[in-house]
């Protein structure tokens, strides 16, 4: 067996770094940060704990950006942001949040992000690996209308799982009335937080933006609840894979379009042909054409029939003997809740129907995998 190389010395730390070490985390590099990969419980049990109780994740490496309209009118910021994303930002009601992506000139995805309507500003959450690219992109295109503030002085915690609501309600009763994709300021244990009811596990839960100076104390307060335990990036990845959610850099990137990635649900009617604010985003010609005619390849769920995990990079074949591959796996893991391997990948749209049988080449063996509708584990968002 081989050990991973030790972490590079120049990695950044989140405000919870000391807490991770104290809690026995095994740390590893991720997007320029030294992050907890797992704690003493281990990836498998951390994953299962999140699905039955509540997991606390440090996701402070993610970028938090405030977009403020120079005019003071939030609609101006919303309209400006629509230059960069094919989603309905102007129609986003106050205290609501929406999934979006920045597209490039060929319809590829520069990053995926969350946009929260916070009354006087838009709160953006972007991927750690793309913060710098996103910040420059926003400044280049929106500086005439908005100021762009990267909030370096805030941490981000995620509290996920069926017990999350009760845990947070004990500290802040009003949070229980929030619904999936609500976002609002909440005072938690004395800290001024911006809370959204969302996450990256498929479970009900919250993402909590907290001032960096209050982050460690808030984490400790949440961990005092017997149902809460810290969860590392290892289980975060298996949880999101079971939930069928994309990881930027693996499942989506500048060479995949939203339609290919099966994310067209995030493009509202108002931005499509016949809508009031049709197009006018980078790569609109490609994306519009694919919305109407379909894409030639699609991201799909893949369920291996055998026990062997089928991981990212594995090539897919139409039959057991074909010489030419037809696609590749972009995310794959053992799903602890699925109790078996789960994967996602890109296949020709002609081979994308559920139950289509394909073959994955794992260490020279062609293993049968079935196209499966995502997610592998049903989402349990609090929609009503």
């Amino acid at each position: 067996m081989k050990h991973p190389a030790p972490a590079a010395p120049t990695l950044k730390h989140t405000p919870l770094h000391a807490l991770h070490l104290e809690m026995g985390a095994r740390m590893g590099p991720f997007a320029g940060y030294e992050m907890p990969i797992q704690y003493a419980l281990g990836v498998l049990k951390e994953h299962l704990h999140t699905r039955v109780a509540a997991g606390l994740f440090d996701i402070s490496h993610m970028g938090q950006i405030a977009l403020r309209p120079r005019s003071g009118r939030i609609a101006d910021a919303a309209q400006a942001l629509e230059r960069l994303v094919p989603v309905d930002v102007l129609g986003l009601r106050p205290a609501r949040q929406r999934y979006a992506f920045f597209t490039n000139g060929s319809g590829g995805i520069i990053d995926d992000l969350m946009i929260g309507q916070c009354g006087d500003h838009l709160a953006l959450i972007v991927n750690a690996s793309r913060k710098d690219v996103d910040e420059q992109h926003l400044r280049d295109v929106l500086s005439d209308v908005c100021t762009v503030d990267v909030l370096e002085d805030r941490a981000l915690l995620a509290l996920q799982g069926p017990a999350a609501e009760a845990v947070l309600a004990r500290l802040s009763p009003s949070s229980a009335s929030m619904r999936f994709m609500d976002i609002r300021p909440v005072l938690i244990a004395g800290a001024s937080c911006l809370v959204s009811r969302s996450g990256y596990t498929g479970e009900d839960g919250f993402e909590i933006s907290v001032p960096a100076r209050d982050a460690k104390q808030l984490a400790r307060t949440l961990l005092q609840d017997a149902t809460v335990t810290l969860i590392g990036l290892g289980a975060r990845d298996s949880l999101r894979t079971e939930a069928g959610l994309c990881l930027y850099g693996s499942d989506i990137d500048e060479r995949t379009t939203p339609v290919e990635a099966a994310l067209e649900w995030a493009i509202q009617k108002v931005r499509r042909r016949g809508g009031a604010r049709v197009g006018n985003f980078p790569g609109e010609d490609v994306v519009m054409e694919q919305l109407e005619c379909g894409a030639s390849r699609l991201r799909v769920g893949l369920k291996p029939r055998e026990r062997t995990p089928v991981r990212a990079g594995v090539l897919l074949y139409a039959d057991a003997f074909a010489f030419q591959s037809v696609g590749a796996v972009t995310s794959g893991t053992f799903g602890p809740s699925a109790a078996g391997p789960v994967a996602m990948g890109y296949v020709p749209s002609t081979l994308s129907a559920p139950n289509t049988l394909l073959f994955a080449d794992v260490r020279g063996n062609r293993l049968p995998v079935e196209v499966m509708k995502l997610p592998f584990i049903p989402h349990r968002y609090k929609r009503t």
């Binding site: 067996m1 281990g42 990836v43 498998l44 893991t333 053992f334 260490r363």
Partner: protein, 120 residues
């Protein structure tokens, strides 16, 4: 005779048959195992060649033949229940038995003291 490799495998040599597995240290580092793939009986390996695969939720790892030889038995219990490798790595969690091709290779393996020194 119990021996170890720098790649965190153990070998118990009885006559011309070596039983092999991964060490306590290895199973701790790998975490909960969810999948094991073992070599078929009759297959021969050179010392250091990849002979088995273990997978955690996160990743796959190769287990090398600690010594050259032909597989005479593989442990179906760990294929059915990979967690046996975590709970009893040096006992019920054994991987495979090899008939030694070259018994002098045993001399190059680490004894328990040398292996423990490696971990410090």
């Amino acid at each position: 005779m119990l021996k170890f490799t720098q790649e965190h495998e153990w070998v118990r040599i009885e006559g011309d048959v070596a039983t092999a597995g991964i060490t306590q240290h290895a199973q701790e580092r790998l975490g909960d195992l969810v999948f094991v793939e073992l070599p078929v009986v009759g297959k021969s390996f050179e010392k250091g060649a990849p002979a088995a695969v273990v997978e955690s939720v996160k990743a796959a790892f190769e287990v090398y033949a600690p010594i050259g030889g032909e597989v005479v038995e593989a442990n179906p219990a760990i294929v059915a229940n990979p967690s046996l490798v975590n709970s009893d790595p040096m006992g019920a969690g054994w991987f495979f038995k090899l008939r030694l091709a070259n018994p002098s290779e045993v001399d190059a393996l680490l004894d328990e003291a040398a292996y423990k020194a490696l971990l410090d």
